[in-house]
C-alpha cells in the first residue's frame, strides 16, 4: 500500500466514519467497547489533525490538495488543507475528546447509537472544514446537521423534542436556501470548485452579475442562519439549551462552521479583486454582527437558566466574529481566529459545567426523568447499571473554580484567553490599516465592552445564585470523568493564554494567507492528479 502523506488529508473524514459505522455492527449494550472505540478514534483524529497542522504550517504555509477520485481540478471534488482548515480540525477534535469523555458519565446511555452519531457529526464537521467544493460543502453540512439533529434529540424528552422540531424546521429552510444559492452560482459560473469560482466570479459578464450576487446573497443567508445572526438565530439558544450537555459542547463549533464558511468564501470570492463585486455584503455582515452582539447581550442578561445564558453567549461570539469578518482586515481577522478558538473552548466547557452544576435542581434532570419513563418495548437497557454520582470531596470547589474560569472567559477578563482575544481584537480595531478609526469601529468596541460587561453581570448573578445563595451547600453528584473534561478545556484556554505569542503568530499567518487567496487558488487548480492507472495495473 502506498500511502503518501497526502492521504492523511482525508483521514479526518474517514476515521470517524469508519469507526462510527463499524460500531453499528455491535449491540448498543456493549458500551465499553463503543466508548473506547470512539475515544480512540477521536484521539487518532487529534493526532492526525496536529500532523496536518504541521504540514500546513511548513514552508511558509502549504496548501495540500486532495483530488478525490483522482480527477483533475476543477472537475474533481477536492479537499484542501491549509492553515485555517487544519486549525478548525484541531479545534474540532480538541472539543470532541472532552465532550466524549463527558458523555460517558451518563449521556451515552440515554439513547441509541450515541457514539455513531457523535462520530458522524465529527465527520461532517471535518468534511465541511476540508472540502474545497461548494456542493460538497452542502453535503457535509447535511451530514453534520443530520447528526446534530440526532444528537440534539438524543434521549428524547418533551423540551428537547420541542426545541429539536424548531431546530430542524429552520435548518431545513436553510438547506433549501443553500441549494438555491449553490445552483444559482453554478448556473452563472458553470463550476462548483471554490478555487475555480474565485477565478470565475470576477470575470463574470456584467449582465449575469446581478443574478450571481443574488445567488451568493441567498447562500449567505443560509450560512448566517447557521451562524445565528440576528434575526436569524433565535433557534440557537433554545436548541443548545436543551441539547444534552456533551452535545451542546460539540455543537458550539457548529455555529462556527457558518462563520468559517463565510470567512473563507467571502475572502475567496471577493477578497482580492476589488472589482465590482468587491466587498460585497461586508456591511451587512458587520451591522448584522453588531445586531447579533446586541441581541446576545440582551439575551445573556435576560437569561435565568444557565443553559440559555450559554446559548446567548454563543450568539455574542458569533456576532463578534461576523462583525469582524465584515471589517475585512488582516490583523483583525487574526484576532478573530484567536477569539474563535478561545470562545469555542470556553462555551464548550461552560455547557458541560452547567449540567454538572444544575444537575441537582434544574430542568435538565427533569428532562432525563421524562426520558426514563419512555414507554414501549426494549426499554430494559435503561435500567441497567444505575451509576450513582459520587460527591467527590472538593467537587464543589472544582466546580466553583471552573465556573469562575468560565465567567472570566466569557467576560473577557484576564488571565484566561478570553482576555487575550478581546485585547487582540481591540488592538487590531484601534490600529486600522488605513489610519483613522471609523465610527463603526467605535460601535464595535463599545459593544465588545458591553458584551463583556453583560457576561460579567449575568455570570456573577448566576454564580451567586448557584454557588453562594443556597442555604444548604449544594454538592452535586458528579463523576470524575465529568469534571475532567471541563477542567481539560479550561486548561486549554490557559494554555492559549500562556502560549499566546506563538499561537497569535500562527493566526497572523493564517489571516494573511486568507486575505491573499492566490496560493489557495493556485494550489487547487494546479494540483496534479496521480499518475494514470495503466502504469501499475496493466498485466
Amino acid at each position: 500500500m502506498i500511502l503518501t502523506p497526502e492521504h492523511l488529508v482525508i483521514a479526518p473524514i474517514l476515521i470517524p466514519f469508519i469507526t462510527g459505522v463499524l460500531l453499528l455492527f455491535f449491540e448498543d449494550r456493549e458500551r465499553r467497547l463503543k466508548a473506547s472505540a470512539s475515544i480512540l478514534a477521536t484521539i487518532a483524529l487529534l493526532m492526525v489533525s496536529i500532523e496536518l497542522l504541521q504540514i500546513s504550517h511548513t514552508d511558509g504555509g502549504r496548501v495540500v490538495v486532495y483530488l478525490l477520485g483522482n480527477w483533475p481540478s476543477p472537475f474533481a471534488i477536492n479537499l484542501v488543507l491549509d492553515r485555517l482548515s487544519a486549525m478548525m480540525l484541531i479545534l474540532t477534535s480538541v472539543l470532541a475528546i472532552p465532550a466524549l469523555i463527558f458523555s460517558l458519565g451518563r449521556w451515552h446511555r440515554a439513547g441509541l447509537h450515541f457514539h455513531t452519531l457523535f462520530l458522524l457529526l465529527l465527520m461532517g464537521l471535518n468534511g465541511a472544514f476540508l472540502t474545497g467544493d461548494l456542493f460538497n460543502l452542502f453535503v457535509f453540512f447535511e451530514v453534520m446537521l443530520a447528526a446534530s439533529y440526532g444528537l440534539a434529540l438524543h434521549g428524547s424528552g418533551l423540551l428537547r423534542v420541542k426545541a429539536g422540531l424548531h431546530y430542524i424546521a429552520i435548518n431545513l429552510a436553510a438547506s433549501l436556501l443553500f441549494l438555491v444559492g449553490v445552483s444559482l452560482i453554478y448556473g452563472n459560473t458553470g463550476t462548483l470548485s471554490m478555487a475555480d469560482l474565485a477565478i470565475r466570479i470576477p470575470q463574470i459578464a456584467e449582465e449575469n452579475r446581478i443574478i450571481l450576487e443574488s445567488g451568493i446573497a441567498i447562500l449567505g443567508v443560509a450560512f448566517l442562519i447557521k451562524a445565528g445572526m440576528w434575526p436569524l438565530g433565535f433557534w440557537l439558544p433554545t436548541t443548545y439549551t436543551f441539547a444534552p450537555a456533551p452535545v451542546a459542547a460539540i455543537l458550539t463549533i457548529m455555529s462556527k462552521v457558518g462563520i468559517y464558511v463565510l470567512l473563507r468564501l467571502s475572502l475567496l470570492f471577493f477578497g482580492e479583486e476589488p472589482g465590482i463585486s468587491g466587498g460585497f455584503g461586508s456591511p451587512i455582515l458587520f451591522f448584522g454582527g453588531l445586531a447579533t452582539i446586541v441581541f446576545g447581550i440582551i439575551g445573556v442578561l435576560a437569561s435565568q437558566a444557565l443553559g440559555r445564558l450559554a446559548g446567548f453567549s454563543v450568539l455574542v461570539s458569533s456576532g463578534t466574529l461576523l462583525a469582524i469578518i465584515g471589517l475585512t482586515q488582516v490583523d483583525i481577522t487574526a484576532a478573530a481566529l484567536f477569539y474563535l478558538v478561545s470562545s469555542t473552548l470556553a462555551i464548550s466547557a461552560f455547557f458541560m459545567l452547567i449540567e454538572l452544576v444544575e444537575r441537582e435542581q434544574s430542568a435538565i434532570s427533569n428532562v432525563l426523568a421524562v426520558t426514563k419513563e419512555a414507554f414501549g418495548e426494549g426499554d430494559e437497557e435503561e435500567e441497567d447499571e444505575e451509576i450513582i454520582g459520587v460527591a467527590i470531596p472538593g467537587s464543589i470547589a472544582i466546580l466553583g473554580i471552573s465556573f469562575v474560569a468560565c465567567s472570566i472567559l466569557l467576560a473577557g477578563l484576564p488571565p484566561l484567553s478570553g482576555f487575550i482575544a478581546k485585547f487582540a481584537i481591540l488592538t487590531a480595531i484601534l490600529n486600522p490599516e488605513g489610519g483613522a478609526i471609523s465610527s463603526a469601529s467605535w460601535w464595535l468596541i463599545a459593544l465588545l465592552i458591553l458584551s463583556g460587561l453583560s457576561a460579567l453581570i449575568a455570570m456573577v448573578r448566576a454564580g451567586i445564585r448557584t454557588f453562594w445563595a443556597p442555604a444548604v451547600a449544594l454538592v452535586p453528584r458528579v463523576l470524575l470523568i465529568e469534571i475532567v473534561p471541563v477542567v481539560m478545556l479550561l486548561f486549554m484556554t490557559l494554555a492559549l493564554t500562556v502560549q499566546a505569542g506563538p499561537i497569535m503568530h500562527f493566526m497572523e499567518a493564517t489571516a494573511v494567507s486568507l486575505h491573499e487567496p492566490r496560493s489557495y487558488i493556485e494550489g487547487v487548480l494546479k494540483a496534479p492528479p496521480a499518475a494514470p492507472w495503466q502504469m501499475e495495473t496493466e498485466e
Binding site: 503518501t4 468534511g127 443530520a146 449582465e207 484601534l430 453581570i457
Partner: protein, 956 residues
C-alpha cells in the same frame, strides 16, 4: 518577583495556612526591601518575558521608586493583615480559601504596581477586581456580603474594561504598550485627537476603582467582608489602585483642562461628600469606609491639580492613609470581635475594657483627623497649601480651599465621634459579648502601624523622607519640585485652615452628638438616596427588566415568526442585487411552448395550491394533491431529458406518501368548524403571509426565468460528458458523476440517509403517542366490534376478508420487485437507474409485504435486519473508496475493466459498481428502517393498551 504570584497554594490547616501566607508575604517584603539600593539610585529594575510580541503585550515587570513604595505597602501591610487575620478568623471558617484568595489578591496587586506594560497592568487590575470579589464575598451565606461583592465587581469590572480600551488607545498613540515609552510620550498623548476618549476611559477605570463620586457606593457595601480584608483592600491596596494609576499616568495625562475638571470635580465632591457621609454612619466600618472615600477624594483632588508639589502631597498621603487606615480597620475589627457589634449606638465606654487597643485607635484616628505630630497632618498641610494655589483659574479652583477646610472639619468630626462614642461614655449595655483585650499577636500589627504614624509624623524628614523622595522622583522625574517635610512651616494659611478645621470639627461633633447617638444610619436629607439602592435598581431595570422586555420583543421562541424572518430575509437578500443595479439581460433564448406541457403544469399548479389550501383540515386531500404535484415534477424531469431524476423522484414520492400516511395516524383530529376562529389579527397575519408567499414565489419564478433564458456558461459538465465513457466506464453520465466524478457527494449523501435512519430509529424507541391517539383507530374498533357481535365471525375477520385476495397479488409481486431492483441497479452505470433507485425499489418491495401481511406476518417470515444493511452499505462504500489506496491513488479513484466471462461475453467490472452496491444496501436498510420503525409504533401501542386494560381489570 514570580514567587509572589506563585504563592497560591491552598492547604488545609489554619495555622499552616497562616504561616505559609505570612511566610510568603514576608518573603515578598524582604525581596522588595532588597531591591531598594537599585531603586534608590533612580534605577529601574526590569524583568521581561516575551509573551505576545505581535501585539506588543509582554510580561514586563518594572520596579521604580513609586512602584517600590507601593510594593512595600502591599507586602508590608499584607503581612500584618495575615498576622491579624490568623487571630481574627474563626476556627470554623474555611481559612485555606481565605488565605489563598488573600495571597492571590496580594499577588495581583503587587503585579499591578510593578507592571512595566500597561496591558499587563490592566490584566493585574482586573485580577484585583476578581480576587477582591471573592474576598468580599467570602462569607457568602450572608446576603450583604454577596451583594457587596457583586457590586464591587461590577463597578470595578466596568471600570476595568473601560480602562483596557483607554490603555489600548494610549498604546496606539504611543506605538507601544511598554510603560517606559508611554511615560516618555506625554506631549504626544496630550495633543492627540484621541486624548479625550482615552482620558475618559482611563478615568472611568481609576475613579471606579478608588470609589470616587459618583462610583463611590460600592465601597461601603464591600464592608461586609471580613475585617482583615477591609483593612487590606481599603487602606493599602484595592482602592489605592485607582490613585496609583492616576499617579502613574500623571506625568503623561495631567496638566490639561479636561484632566483638571474631571479629576478635580470628582475628587473634591468625593472628598466633601465622603466626609459628610462618614459623620452619619452608625456602623464603625461604615464610618471608616466613607472616610476612606473621602481621603481618596483628597488624593484625587491633589492629583487633579497637575502641579508637581500637589503630586508629591498626593503620593505622601497615599502612604499615610494606608498606615492609619489599616490600623483603624484592624482596631474596628478588634472592637467588633470583642464587643460583638459595630453599631456605634450600642458601643460606648470600651476604654476600660480594651485600653491598649483604644489608645492605638485614638492615635490612628488623630492621624486621620490631621492632628499635628502625626503623619496625616503633614500631608494635609501640603494639601491645604495646594488648594490655595490657582491651577486653572476657574470656579473649581476658587472653591477648593473652602471644600478642603470643610471636609477637613468633617474629618475631625467623624474622628472625634469614632473615639468618643466607642471608648468613652457610660458603660455599654446589652453588648453581645463581654469585651477584653485581644491576643497580643493580633494587636501587634496595629501597634506597628500606629508607631509608624507617630514616627513619620514627628520626624518625617529622617524616616519617610528618602523613600518618599525616591517615589516622587520616579513619578515626576525632572519635574520633581523642592519640598519640605517639616512639621512646622510657620504660621501660614494652611495652618490656619487646619486650626479652623479642627475647631469646627469638634464643634460640629458637639452639636450633632445627641442626634448621632439616636439617629438612623446615614446622612440626613439624602438618607433615602442610597447609591446602592439606585445602583441595584438601575441594574435590575437595565440588565433584567429591559433585557427581558427586549428579548421578548426583538427575539422570539416561536417557530412561525422565525421561519417568516428566514424567508423574508432570504427574499430581500435575493432581490437586493436587482434593486441596487440596473438589470441588463441578455436576450432570452427560449424553447417553443408545448401546450401539453403547459397543461401539465396547470395540473401541477392546481395541485400545489390545492395542497396548500387543504393541508389544515383535509390532510389526506393535501397529501394526495401533493402527490399530484410530485407527479408533475416527475413528468417535467422526463420532458427535459432527465430520466434518472424522474425515476428517483417517482420512487421517493411513493415512499414519502406512505411515510406520511404512517405518521398521519398519530396526529390529532382536526375539525373545521370547531377551531376555525377568524379574528381580525388572524386575518391580517394570513394576509401578510400570503403576500410574502406570493412575493417569494414571484421572486423565485423571476430568477428561474432569467436563469433559464440566459445562455449557459462554459461548464464543467462538458468534461464529464466527454470523459464519462473513456475514463469513467459508463455511458449514463449522471450516474458516472454520482458514483465516480462526484462520488464523494454520494458518499456524504448516503451517510446522511444512514444518520437520519438511526436518528429516527432512536427517537421512535422513545416514542410516546398522545393520549388521544393511543387507541386503535376508530375503523378497527368498529370493525372488530362488528365481528365480535356477529355470531358467525371472529374478531379480525373483516380485515382478513379485506386483504385476502389483494395480499396474494402483493406477495407475488415481491420477486418481481426484487428483479426490478436488480435491473435498475445493474444498468445504472450505463442507463437510467443506479443504486439509489434500486435501493428504494427494494425497500418498496418490503413495504408492500408489510402492508399486505402486517408486521407480525412479515416478521415471522422475513427478518430484514436494516441495521446490518446500513452498516454493510456504508462499509462497502468506504472500503471501495479506500481500495484505490492500494494502488497509490486518492480515495474513490475508480477502476474499470472489461472482463471476458465465458458465455456471457464482455462485462464491465467497475469499482464504481461496488460503491453503488454500497449505496444500494444503505438505501434499502435506511428506508426499510424508517418505514418499519414507524410501522412498529402501532404494535407497541397495541401492547401498551393491552397492558393498561389488564391493569384496569385487575384493579376492579
Amino acid at each position: 518577583m514570580g514567587s509572589v504570584l506563585a504563592a497560591m497554594l491552598p492547604a488545609n490547616a489554619r495555622n499552616a495556612e497562616a504561616w505559609l501566607s505570612g511566610g510568603v508575604s514576608i518573603a515578598a517584603f524582604v525581596i522588595v526591601v532588597c531591591l531598594y539600593p537599585w531603586v534608590a539610585d533612580g534605577e529601574v529594575v526590569r524583568y521581561v518575558i516575551e509573551w505576545l510580541p505581535e501585539l506588543g503585550l509582554n510580561f514586563t515587570l518594572r520596579v521604580d521608586g513609586f512602584a517600590w513604595m507601593f510594593s512595600i505597602l502591599i507586602t508590608g501591610i499584607g503581612f500584618l493583615v495575615v498576622l491579624y487575620a490568623r487571630y481574627y478568623m474563626s476556627p470554623k471558617d474555611p481559612v485555606p480559601r481565605f488565605f489563598s484568595f488573600l495571597l492571590a489578591f496580594m499577588g495581583a496587586m503587587q503585579g499591578m504596581v510593578i507592571s512595566g506594560n500597561i496591558i499587563l497592568l490592566a490584566i493585574f487590575w482586573e485580577l484585583t477586581s476578581i480576587f477582591s470579589f471573592l474576598l468580599i464575598g467570602y462569607w457568602h451565606h450572608n446576603a450583604a456580603a454577596r451583594d457587596g461583592a457583586r457590586m464591587a465587581l461590577i463597578i470595578t469590572g466596568i471600570g476595568g474594561l473601560c480602562l483596557l480600551v483607554g490603555l489600548i488607545i494610549i498604546g496606539y498613540i504611543v506605538g507601544s504598550y511598554e510603560l517606559d515609552y508611554v511615560l516618555e510620550a506625554g506631549d504626544k498623548i496630550r495633543q492627540h485627537d484621541l486624548y479625550v476618549p482615552a482620558l475618559l476611559l482611563i478615568l472611568m477605570g481609576a475613579l471606579t476603582k478608588s470609589a470616587q463620586f459618583p462610583f463611590h457606593f460600592w465601597l461601603p457595601n464591600a464592608m461586609a467582608a471580613p475585617t482583615p480584608v477591609s483593612a487590606y483592600l481599603h487602606s493599602a491596596t484595592m482602592v489605592k489602585a485607582g490613585v496609583f494609576l492616576l499617579a502613574r499616568l500623571w506625568p503623561v495625562m495631567s496638566g490639561t483642562d479636561e484632566w483638571f475638571f474631571i479629576v478635580g470635580l470628582a475628587g473634591m465632591s468625593t472628598l466633601l461628600l465622603g466626609a459628610y457621609f462618614a459623620i452619619f454612619q452608625q456602623d464603625l466600618k461604615g464610618l471608616l469606609a466613607y472616610s476612606t472615600i473621602s481621603h481618596l477624594g483628597l488624593i484625587t483632588t491633589l492629583l487633579s491639580f497637575g502641579s508637581p508639589l500637589a503630586a508629591v502631597a498626593a503620593i505622601f498621603h497615599m502612604m499615610n492613609h494606608a498606615t492609619f487606615k489599616a490600623s483603624l480597620f484592624m482596631a474596628a475589627g478588634i472592637i467588633d470581635h470583642e464587643a460583638g457589634t459595630r453599631d456605634m449606638r450600642k458601643l460606648s465606654g470600651l476604654f476600660s475594657f480594651i485600653p491598649i487597643t483604644a489608645t492605638l485607635a485614638m492615635v490612628a484616628s488623630a492621624a486621620m483627623a490631621g492632628v499635628p505630630l502625626l503623619n496625616g497632618f503633614l500631608s494635609k498641610e501640603m494639601f491645604f497649601a495646594q488648594t490655595l494655589e490657582q491651577h486653572r483659574a476657574s470656579l473649581l479652583d476658587g472653591v477648593a480651599p473652602y471644600v478642603a477646610t470643610i471636609a477637613s472639619a468633617f474629618a475631625v468630626t467623624y474622628s472625634v465621634r469614632f473615639i468618643h462614642t466607642v471608648f468613652f461614655g457610660s458603660k455599654p449595655e446589652d453588648l453581645p459579648r463581654e469585651p477584653h483585650e485581644p491576643p497580643h499577636w493580633m494587636r501587634l500589627p496595629i501597634e506597628f502601624l500606629v508607631l509608624v504614624c507617630l514616627i513619620v509624623g514627628i520626624i518625617p524628614g529622617l524616616t519617610i523622607g528618602p523613600y518618599l523622595h525616591t517615589a516622587v522622583v520616579s513619578v515626576l522625574g525632572e519635574r520633581t519640585p523642592e519640598y519640605n517635610l517639616a512639621i512646622w512651616h510657620g504660621i501660614n494659611t494652611p495652618l490656619v485652615m487646619s486650626v479652623v478645621a479642627l475647631a469646627c470639627g469638634v464643634l460640629f461633633y458637639l452639636v450633632l452628638r445627641n442626634y448621632l447617638a439616636r439617629g438612623a444610619d446615614g446622612p440626613p436629607g439624602v438618607r433615602s438616596l442610597k447609591g446602592k439602592r439606585i445602583f441595584e435598581q438601575l441594574l435590575v431595570t437595565i440588565s433584567w427588566r429591559w433585557a427581558r422586555w427586549m428579548e421578548s420583543h426583538f427575539g422570539t421562541q416561536r417557530l412561525q415568526p422565525q421561519l417568516r424572518l428566514v424567508i423574508f430575509i432570504a427574499f430581500v437578500a435575493g432581490l437586493w442585487p436587482f434593486y441596487s443595479a440596473d438589470l441588463h439581460l441578455s436576450p432570452p433564448t427560449l424553447t417553443e411552448i408545448d401546450p401539453v406541457f403547459a397543461a401539465i403544469w396547470v395540473i401541477g399548479i392546481i395541485s400545489a395550491l390545492g395542497a396548500a389550501y387543504q393541508a389544515k383540515y383535509h390532510r389526506l386531500a393535501a397529501l394526495i394533491l401533493m402527490g399530484g404535484a410530485g407527479l408533475v415534477t416527475c413528468i417535467t424531469f422526463v420532458w427535459f431529458s432527465a430520466p434518472d431524476l424522474a425515476l428517483t423522484q417517482l420512487l421517493v414520492e411513493i415512499v414519502t406518501t406512505v411515510l406520511i400516511l404512517l405518521g398521519l395516524r398519530w396526529l390529532p383530529k382536526r375539525i373545521e368548524r370547531i377551531d376555525n376562529y377568524n379574528t381580525l389579527t388572524v386575518r391580517i397575519r394570513r394576509y401578510r403571509d400570503f403576500l410574502l408567499a406570493v412575493a417569494c414565489g414571484g421572486g423565485m419564478a423571476m430568477i428561474a426565468y432569467i436563469m433559464m433564458t440566459s445562455p449557459l456558461p462554459d461548464t464543467i459538465a462538458s468534461y464529464f460528458l466527454e470523459q464519462a465513457y473513456p475514463k469513467g466506464g459508463g455511458t449514463n453520465v449522471v450516474n458516472v458523476i454520482l458514483v465516480d466524478f462526484r462520488g464523494f457527494d454520494t458518499f456524504g449523501e448516503i451517510t446522511v440517509l444512514g444518520i437520519v435512519a438511526l436518528t429516527i430509529f432512536a427517537l421512535l424507541r422513545r416514542f410516546r403517542p398522545a393520549p388521544d391517539s393511543i387507541e386503535i383507530p376508530e375503523q378497527q374498533r368498529i370493525q372488530n366490534a362488528y365481528d365480535d357481535a356477529s355470531a358467525n365471525r371472529e374478531i379480525g375477520e373483516t380485515v382478513r376478508d379485506y386483504l385476502w385476495v389483494p395480499s396474494v397479488i402483493m406477495q407475488w409481486m415481491f420477486p418481481f420487485i426484487i428483479l426490478l431492483a436488480a435491473y435498475l441497479f445493474l444498468r445504472g452505470h450505463d442507463l437510467p437507474g443506479g443504486g439509489f433507485a434500486a435501493g428504494i425499489t427494494m425497500a418498496i418491495g418490503f413495504l408492500l409485504l408489510y402492508i399486505a401481511g402486517g408486521t407480525r406476518w412479515m416478521e415471522d417470515r422475513l427478518h430484514i435486519l436494516p441495521m446490518l444493511w446500513i452498516g454493510f452499505g456504508l462499509i462497502l462504500a468506504v472500503f471501495t473508496g479506500m481500495g484505490s489506496w492500494l494502488f497509490g491513488f486518492p480515495f474513490l479513484t475508480s477502476y474499470f475493466h472489461y472482463m471476458e466471462i465465458p458465455l456471457v461475453g464482455k462485462v464491465p467490472i467497475a469499482t464504481a459498481l461496488f460503491f453503488d452496491l454500497g449505496v444500494f444496501a444503505l438505501v434499502v436498510g435506511a428506508t426499510a428502517l424508517i418505514l418499519i420503525a414507524l410501522a412498529h409504533q402501532s404494535i407497541r401501542s397495541h401492547r401498551t393498551r393491552t397492558v393498561e386494560i389488564t391493569k384496569m381489570e385487575e384493579d376492579t
